[in-house]
Symmetry: C2
Subunit: 148 residues, 2 copies
DNA sequence: GTACAAGCTCAACTTAACTTGAGGTCAAGC
DNA sequence: GCTTGACCTCAAGTTAAGTTGAGCTTGTAC
């Protein structure tokens, strides 16, 4: 068998580019796990690097730690994520990314239209109008500018 | 001349879809301005609606209030933004949006590649590798997973 | 001429995602 | 066997962007 190299928290920090305090934090949040040496120091299996990589990727995508935690919970307890597991996660997150991208595109196109139209002073602006419609719909409404 | 209808904070809140407390907050941050009645109540010119619209749009784009404030500072003091002003802002913000979009796309494509490759367990993964390279470059590096 | 909704100020609370600090332990090199 | 750097815990601080609440004033509708 290949030697199972355990990693200290400092080594994980160095290899993952995440601060030690952040690793502690992730652990407190249940996103990663460690076991302890007799001297109460954390030791991590190599798979923690995967997990941390997943976490950072998902954060880039704009998923909160809570959401990431939930997704990771869906993995069978304590198992090193298999390719199958990863497929599920990355597919879900890719969909989220796709959504986010198209949302931003909508916004950008809105801005582009506005550039030509001087819309901020006129009623034609699609962005403005979305916003203004609220006024006519009564005071209670609280809606975002861009439909999701 | 058209009647200059001044707006109360409540009216601005209703028409802009932004909470009164948020308007107070924006004002404290210098993003909008008001003058006061003899009874110390805020009154807003109609142009505040534009400003608030701009603020919300920029927030959607992912710009912080600080950044928005800075951009608005670039407008000649106290002037109602002209079409020209707006063009400048929206162009700048659209560029930022474009950047953000392409960043997310990169990320998505990375994920897509990963879906097929079982990368989390192999060294081929583009996302993983970006990350792993840090290890060889020493401990000090703190870099984001995705190049900007 | 009064009730009461709408305003005002200021301080404190909220959430996310961490970081910083204090005070103390562990381990590896010389 | 001791020094030093890496670890440990736990509490408190930080930033962004507001919200909530207390206590008090304005303004308007009946």
């Amino acid at each position: 068998m290949a030697p199972v190299t355990e990693l200290t928290v400092g080594q994980v920090a160095a290899r993952s580019g995440v601060a030690v305090s952040a690793l502690h934090f992730y652990e407190a949040r249940g996103l990663i796990r460690s076991h302890r040496t007799s001297g109460n120091q954390r030791r991590y299996g190599r798979d923690v690097l995967r997990r941390v990589a997943i976490i950072r990727i998902a954060q880039e995508v704009g998923i909160s730690l809570a959401g990431i935690g939930a997704a990771l919970q869906s993995l069978p307890e304590g198992r090193t994520p298999t390719r199958e597991d990863w497929n599920l996660l990355s597919t879900a997150w890719r969909d989220e990314l796709d959504q986010k991208i198209s949302q931003l595109k909508k916004l950008r196109d809105g801005l582009s239209d506005c550039i030509g139209c001087g819309c901020m002073s006129i009623d034609k602006c699609p962005l403005r109008n979305k916003d203004d419609r609220l006024a006519r719909e009564g005071t209670g409404a609280r809606r975002l500018l861009v439909e999701r």
